[in-house]
Assembly symmetry: C2
């Protein structure tokens, strides 16, 4: 079952996908793990400036339950835990690509508007 507490059934696919991506840092975590392949807890923290430990753990746990992230614990001391994307995490990232492109274009637009406004 999914971790992201969900009451009723999904209305459509976007609904089901959003449910898994919603969370202030989730898409960024997805991106970080996609970029680096595998990351330790502290590395992720540093890669996500501003994230609190609580939210990072919480999001990672939910994403693990949702089958997006794999958590590998090494029984050593000091503790070592490595996170990586599962197959589903990878395909989700791919599915997010066109959205990322749209977002980039939006950033350009906003920047342009801002520049135009500033120039006025």
């Amino acid at each position: 079952m999914a971790a992201s507490a969900r009451q009723g059934p999904y209305i459509c696919g976007i609904d089901a996908a959003m449910d898994v991506v919603t969370g202030k840092w989730k898409s960024l975590i997805l991106w970080e793990l996609h970029e680096h392949g595998t990351r330790r807890f502290a590395e992720l923290r540093r890669g996500l400036p501003g994230v609190s430990e609580k939210m990072l753990v919480q999001h990672l746990r939910e994403m693990e339950e949702d089958g997006l992230v794999h958590r590998e614990v090494y029984p050593v001391v000091p503790p070592k835990v490595e996170y990586s994307l599962t197959e589903h995490g990878i395909t989700l990232n791919t599915a997010l690509e066109s959205l990322a492109v749209w977002g980039q274009e939006r950033i350009q637009r906003i920047g342009a508007e801002k520049t135009a406004t500033d120039a006025a």
Copy 2:
């Protein structure tokens, strides 16, 4: 400027896109308008079972400010207001398609898991 109160700059494209889609009913509103081309306020309400007037107005206003939705007011009585997608709203919808497909597959997976569990 965007309506979705946003403090700092965006970290990446997904970030910028999510900012505009986040909101319990926004992706559904996008879908409704895409399906019907144009909808009146009351029609949207009926198309989104469970939405409150407050949230519907609020989301529509934000989406209008974000340049996704066009609001056409007809100066008649009783009032008539029609909502439709702008160019950016349409392209956003397109960008969301692969995500919708991923979500559909996820629904299938969950259904399958559930069935397997129930069978056990």
